[in-house]
Symmetry: C2
Subunit: 349 residues, 2 copies
């Protein structure tokens, strides 16, 4: 089947670009001796995770336990969940998952550590727990090396848990000093920090500048998107995910309406101008979204599409787009090669 026979909007993955992106980051990290632990939140597709593992990844990263369950069901055996897991039912699920796969998690508070320890201790399993450190991202994570060291000590002492190292997102200029100071504090207790997990796609080619980082978690690099182009981390030829839309209305000389809106693309803006790049009309501006309508200004284009014409949109943010589609279509040379259910789509818990 040719791609232009598919109904729009349709999310398409250029398989050659996908393979290139997987190979390129793996080669870069291999050369620097950094373990590759790609984040599956971008694609949520087991087969792509297996491609990443086959290329040399040591395991995968998940953000939600539900994503990890889907990956484990598909035979992915080494999973880091970079999230504070809380709640009785969730921790019971974590125990069951831990029995079936090499799972590690992160924590940034005593409350989380206590919950993990209680659940694992009762179940008689051992879980590796990394301390999440805020080294500049200003999201979750302990704020100081002293707090990191203290939590590491508590993990080390907790029944059912094993201290697994440090995790941060994104890794950046402040990561090394934070990690070194934490290591020094822990050395006094005889606690070694053997694993330091950094992350992020925008600065993935600078991952080696964080000398303390032993593994890197990148997600978006498999697909690429307009944000990755804007920060200079990828080229347009590397953008593997695109959404084919149809122009369904041309109400005025300049205005065009696409059959995809915020329920197709999300409304992530990332400080970019407009909500996506139309490859066939690069001067067009997707200036707003309704839920199922993309509002486009074609005024700056030499010509504008007619009703019924199909266009190719590079979205602002690949990760939220693939989460809106029930499946994506893998394409090679314009032909459909595979249709992948987005198996971990909507796994919110």
């Amino acid at each position: 089947m040719r791609i232009d026979e598919l109904e729009t909007p349709v999310a398409m993955v250029d398989l050659a670009r996908l393979e290139h992106n997987i190979a390129r980051l793996q080669a870069y990290l291999d050369e620097r001796g950094i373990a590759n632990r790609p984040h599956i939140k971008t694609h949520k597709i087991p087969e792509i995770a297996h491609m990443q593992l086959a290329a040399g990844a040591v395991g995968v990263t998940c953000q939600k336990l539900g994503e990890a369950e889907i990956m484990a069901q598909a035979g992915v055996n080494n999973i880091l969940i970079t999230y504070n897991l809380l709640g009785t039912t969730r921790l019971e699920r974590l125990v069951r998952l831990r029995r079936r796969a090499e799972v590690s998690v992160t924590a940034d508070s005593v409350t989380v550590v206590r919950g993990l320890s209680a659940a694992m201790g009762v179940a008689g399993v051992v879980l590796e727990v990394l301390v999440e450190c805020d080294t500049g991202g200003q999201r979750a994570g302990v704020q100081t090396p002293a707090a990191a060291a203290e939590l590491a000590r508590q993990i080390s002492a907790a029944p059912g848990l094993r201290f697994g190292g440090l995790m941060t997102y994104p890794s950046g200029p402040n990561t090394d000093p934070f990690v070194r100071e934490t290591k020094a504090l822990l050395a006094a207790d005889g606690i070694a920090v053997t694993r330091v997990s950094g992350g992020g796609s925008p600065r993935m080619w600078q991952a080696h500048e964080c000398r303390e980082v032993t593994e890197h978690r990148a997600g978006t690099y498999v697909y690429g998107d307009r944000h990755m182009l804007a920060v200079g981390a990828m080229t347009l030829d590397e953008c593997a995910l695109s959404v084919h839309c149809t122009v369904v209305s041309r109400p005025t000389a300049a205005r065009g309406i696409l059959d995809g809106g915020s329920k197709t693309f999300s409304s992530d803006l990332f400080n970019l101008d407009g909500y996506g790049l139309i490859l066939e009309y690069p001067a067009a501006r997707i200036y707003s979204f309704s839920e199922e309508h993309g509002h486009v200004d074609f005024g700056a284009c030499p010509s504008a599409p007619e009703v019924g014409e199909r266009v190719t949109v590079i979205p602002n943010h690949a990760c939220v787009v693939s989460n809106l589609f029930n499946h994506v279509v893998g394409v090679r040379d314009g032909e459909v090669e595979v249709i992948w259910p987005v198996a971990a789509r909507g796994m919110l818990t």
Copy 2:
């Protein structure tokens, strides 16, 4: 099961409020002699559509053919699809659907009308088509009464089609003049405009001010959201949809992290301050989202939650939130009464 036993994030519908919202709009429209044709894009749940029909709605509105197929499968027999439907495969689906249900659609160009006519003509079925008019919404729709009249004539003359009236979104101050002028133009041809479909929840209580409108399409009114509060169309006591989240991190004195981000809430801002209202901490500000993290500033609150505490969030935009959940939980008096799959979620084509 009590709601606090459910894993978070979880989308919950207060059933008493849902019933109130359905009854209130129905009563208002009944009093004014306006037919009620609620838009299911907000909930995407057949059982809620049946509640709306049982209350007196004449049928439902869908934005996508896939939504309409789901509704028809669930026994909803009268459906208006307010969208330009294009493409061979899609039109074959429309023919099949038309054979099973009273379906009408809209069009705003000759291209769309020709496609509809060709498909229906070959199949030997008759489809009612309304002309979409842009009466101020600046989305799709013909721009002038003359263009509306011309397209109405073409529909009237097209094999397999029946002219079904006019549609606009949202209806507003310019709707009546536009409709009256179109009617006058068509009267000369002996073409009657018997149905004028207006829409929108923000101005639903002003629907009667559009004297020409014979039916109203509102979607968000069933659930309510922060946007509906901001425009004064609904009260907080009428907000039926909320998302329970857990505070998973408290990295600083002011900062808190919820276990829901842009993949739970979308990133729709609607010019509001922040990404949602936390009922237990109304002075808190959800200032940004990662995909699975809600970043909250609790600095203005008299007290702040601890890690593990659950909070209730009224989202900015209900329609995109329910489209991110595989199911929503119907609740009465704090007890789970029903779990509804969001059956038409992700129906993008």
